[in-house]
């Protein structure tokens, strides 16, 4: 365990943001939260982020747009999508775009942790590979 993985949460709903932050901290993760995709992209933690957990529906830049943007910029950090309005087509697009999970709010905590672990493993593996 060299450096603990850095998790970035992007969600415009404050309480959801705070709740995920609370959950992951309780599990010992290092977490940064962002109100919007733009704030995250401007953040110095962008490069150090091991996994992005983002809301799909956000006012200016959606979670999918953020994924597309980051992939285009060469970032390979895994994405976990969460949404309060689950739509099959959005789910399909998100998964095809390379998202690890597509979780509908409300979701079970261990389900998110499991996704996160998968994502971190994949990221680590990917990075090691």
């Amino acid at each position: 365990m060299s450096t603990p993985p850095l998790i970035s949460i992007v969600d415009d709903d404050g309480s959801v943001r705070a709740a995920i932050n609370n959950l992951l901290k309780s599990r010992g993760y290092i977490v940064h939260t962002f109100v919007s995709a733009e704030e995250f992209l401007r953040s110095p933690h962008l490069n150090g982020t091991s996994c992005v957990i983002t809301d799909v529906q956000m006012s200016t830049m959606s979670g999918l747009d953020l994924l597309t943007h980051m992939r285009a910029q060469g970032y390979s950090a895994p994405f976990i999508f969460i949404t309060a309005f689950p739509d099959d087509r959005v789910r399909a697009r998100a998964l095809s775009a390379g998202a690890i999970c597509f979780l509908a709010k409300p979701f079970a905590g261990q389900h998110l942790i499991r996704c996160l672990d998968t994502a971190l493993d994949k990221h680590r593996g990917g990075a090691s590979a």
């Binding site: 709740a19 309780s26 409300p106």
Partner: protein, 843 residues
Amino acid sequence: MILVFSLMGSLIPSAMLFILPFAALAYFFAPPTFNLNDPRDLPVVVAFLVASIIGTHLIGKVRREREVALEAAARLRRSEAELRDREKQWREIFEHNPVMHFMVNATGMVLNVNTFGATQLGYAPSELVGHSVLKVFLEEDRPFVRERVGLCIETVGQSHTWEIQKIRKDGSVLWVRENAKAMQWAEDKLVVLIACEDITERKRTETALRRSEAHLAQAQELSRTGSFGWNVATGEVHWSKETFRIFQYDPSTKLNPQLVVDRTHPEDRAAVRETIDRAFQNEEGFEHEYRLLMPDGSVKHLHALARAIRTASGDIEFVGAVTDITAAKQAEQQLRRSEAYLAEAQHLSHTGSWSWDVHRLEFVYRSAETDRLFGFDPEQAVSIETIRSRIHPDDLPRLQEVPRQAIEDKGGHFEYDFRILLPDGAIRRIHSVAHAVVGSDGSVSELIGTHMDVTEQHAARERLERALAALRESEQRFRDYAETASDWLWETGPDHRITRFSEHTSAAGILATRVVGLLRWEIAGDVEAEPEKWRQHRATLDARLPFRDFIYRTVTQMGSPIYVRTSGKPFFDADGNFLGYRGVSTDITATIRADQAERELRKAQAELAHVTRVTTLGELTTSIAHEINQPLAAIVTNGEACLGWLGRETPDLSAARCSVEWIIEDGIRASEVIRRIRALAKKGEIEMVPLDINDIVKDVIALVTRELVSHQVSLRTELTPALPLILGDRVQLQQVITNLVMNGIEAMQTVSDRPRELVIRSSHDDMGRVHLAVADCGVGITEEDADRVFNPFFTTKSSGLGMGLSICRSIVEAHGGSLSIARKQEPGATFQLVLPLHKEVVS
């Protein structure tokens, strides 16, 4: 006359003397008859009288000579032989003497008559001889004649003279002067010789003179004019009878000039003396007026006029007339007083009087007030130009026409108006009343009339007319206001019975004549239905209070019900006595209907808005889900976090507690979201009432017509009439059907190869249940979907959540019915709604 001269040589001088006066008379009197009133004729009359007396005297003398001749003849006759020739001569004379000779015996029988005498009486001598002489006298004169003849017989030889009338054979009468004498005739018989002279002319003259004198006296008396003569030199004074009467002296009084002075009013004596002295000095006539002071103290006004004439002896004599002008003076004073009164009256009444000479075109008379009206100088005559200049130019032609018309119409009263334009520019308005005076020749000579200054009256009338016009206009204005604002105006009496009803009620179809005399509650048709309203209204009326916008129902003449809105105000007389109400009424049937329709419309719109909200629930659920899922996600996650903090080797209780607090907050947040959504979907209390499904369909059609048109969908309805009633909430059922229709419309949205037709069909089955089907020809529903369309969250729409049909089914099932896909025809789909009956539900 020559023959007479030749035969009667000795008589020539006397005959000449006889003829001359007559010649003189003829000379003086012919051809004109003299006039006794003319003093110039007096000498003629006197000359005539003198000549007559002289003539008569001469005639008497002639007769006496003739008697001598007769006696001589008698003597001669006794010597027949000797005297026969002379008798013959005398007979000739007798026969042709221009004097009528009669010889009668003592009994009055005519013994002889000369031819002249008989001829004068229209007889032949033979017709008279042997008859009574009385035959030629008037019946009433005959006793006198007998008496005279008798007298002659008694006094033989003595002449008697009298004047009497004789009758001619033709009945005409002539006056004669008879000279008779009895004498011894042969055989001692007495005969009476009568010579008659025709004095008819003289008699006629005497009569005329007497008549003239009588007339003169009468005239003097009537005219209160006496005549007088006064010879200054001799002091001789003559007064006529009337003069005595005027001076109130006895006619027997011996006259002298002092008598006049004695009677003269002391104040006038000096003037009288002066006048008379001047007349004496200048020997010329005089004329003066003076007063007499009578013994009884009364005063007489006299007017005396005299002229100086020179008598034959060369003396100056004043001949004149004196007139009692007391009455005239009094009348004049009276007149002056009357004129003063009249002038005053005219001034007060602004009325001038005038008389206009229509030929000379000038005023014959104009009163002071007339002058004042025209602004004329009373002292000066006014020319026709001046008069015209004072008449308003506009009125001049008409005014000139007035006299012409009056002359043509010849008399009668006429009136006209004109304006006087005074030099200072002021205008007087004149009302004139006049009449034409028709002269003896039948033509109009004069117009007499009055001018009344009616300027003030005119101004007052104009003011009044203006005030009246303003009042009328004002009244009309308010009437217009009232009539514009209402359909009719009304008045009721103190007993609240209608007394007046304006005529323009045709719009409302109420006939004024039918309602006058009735009470409002006799006209109204809702008294029994709304007793409280009428009780209050009558209480208002009894309290004599104004009321506004009282609405009642009545019927028109045609019997159709109308609603009337009426407002009224009590009115009172000057003493405050209640006279009734005045007010306006309006037919507000249309308004009420419109209000009802609008209420219905507003209700429907509200319902549509609600239905729209419900139908868009599909879209809403997206955000609803989002809103709810967010706090739910936070709750779940915080719950997991809490477990995390507790599950640590060293449980972080503080963080766990914090997580639980967040869970609670988010739980509250979620419930708040739910509450807001409920509020959004909620609509009043559900009301289950008996309903006709066809009515609901019609309501829905009205609501969705716009949608049908905008999506180019035609709607066909197959509604079974007289369906049994169902029990339900109208709005909820409307929502269900609207939802089905909207779904149908949406299902046909992509259809372009066939007509987009929607069919709504109502019916009932053997079970008595009401069926309603909504069929479209849209994309249809797959076999797989058919089992799921009513599931919540099922939707074929990209933007929907599929709540619509689920909710619809819930509503229908809450009504005890069912909602299902009836058929899966190609193309399209049909949804069927089955509802139990009203009674069924109740039981």
